[in-house]
Symmetry: C2
Subunit: 213 residues, 2 copies
């Protein structure tokens, strides 16, 4: 047996942050940087597609009745209702990816993270991204001109709600500088891949070493 006999179980990376803290940039860079390993978990949603959103890439858009049926059938790993719309993650695609050694990236909020922590705690790595200041965050939320003022106000309230859940995460990144922040994220992933429990086949590998001593 060689080092090649040691395989890796994938991890489930949850990256949460208030809207406007730079999470989307981090996700894009991560997927671009490591396209062979990371699967983006594409959430189901019952909301209507926004201009430019592609079904199956940004979200899987489903009817409410279908979503509820899947949820009640235990086919969802997590789900949430946000502004009257449902969002959720299909269990089957995540479980098979992780078993095959692929990492799965989740762009979900604290409610989803909490449910994943209940269903698949050992595979989960939770990272919270904080803005460098409240002023910076507020400024970023206001420069998205496509939305109506009441949508911005709702998003601000949601940002405050989201931020209050930072203590439920394993790692905290402060996005003061995107390069430093991304380096930190990459280090977290590299390190978590080296965790003992994620290296499948170590027992056999060590037995082989012991037999040669």
């Amino acid at each position: 047996m060689t080092v090649q006999g040691v395989k890796r179980r994938g991890l489930m990376l949850v990256l949460s942050s208030p809207s406007g803290a730079g999470k989307t940039t981090l996700v894009k860079r991560l997927l671009g940087d490591d396209p062979d390993s990371f699967f983006m978990s594409v959430s189901l949603t019952t909301r209507t597609p926004r201009p430019g959103e592609v079904d199956g890439r940004d979200y899987k858009f489903v009817e409410k009745a279908r979503f509820v049926a899947m949820r009640d059938n235990g086919e969802l790993l997590e789900w949430a209702e946000v502004f009257g719309n449902f969002y959720g993650t299909e269990r089957q695609q995540v479980e098979s990816a992780v078993k095959q050694g692929h990492d799965v990236l989740f762009d979900i909020d604290w409610q989803g993270a909490r449910q994943l922590a209940e269903s698949m705690p050992q595979d989960l790595v939770r990272v919270f991204v904080l803005p460098p200041s409240g002023k910076a965050l507020a400024a970023r939320l206001h420069t998205r001109n496509e939305d109506a003022p009441e949508v911005v106000a709702k998003r601000m309230a949601k940002a405050a709600d989201e931020i209050s859940h930072w203590p439920e995460y394993d790692y905290v990144l402060i996005n003061d500088d995107i390069e430093t922040c991304f380096s930190g994220l990459k280090a977290i992933i590299a390190a978590e891949r080296l965790r003992r429990e994620r290296q499948v086949g170590l027992s056999a590998f060590v037995r082989e070493i012991e037999s040669e001593l």
Copy 2:
């Protein structure tokens, strides 16, 4: 409050491996690479200095009676007896370093790691370094010509004993290639520094953000 208001609590890095698996090289590179942050915990020992060993750098050499008095007085964080000699770590120097945000590196075996896990579990990061194969390890143990054959035999038995404790560690590195192995170690350290619990002052930082929203 700025990001500078968030400080770091140091971590205690335990790097264990069988003798001959490359741990000493990793330790030297780590201390050379990051001299401002890492403190090498200098163990106390009751054994006689080997040629070239410097008191206070390689070990703090103490008399057996003094060692036993310190141990019985609760001044040691961990201690062990190996080949009839005592080894141990002073509690005070580690606790104050970690509080001041310095990381402390330990070059100790599984017995020491186990005691540290009892005394300071939250600060501890345990990394086990495995050789790429048993043959490679045996070869390395035999090329140290300074020691007598019975010392080599003893070391081989100790290597087998040490290896059997790999499941007690948080991370496992296979030293197939020293560069890859060192990169992995650096990632583990960078990631562990970003753990929520190690960032002191995050609560106040987040309160400041919330007040600005």
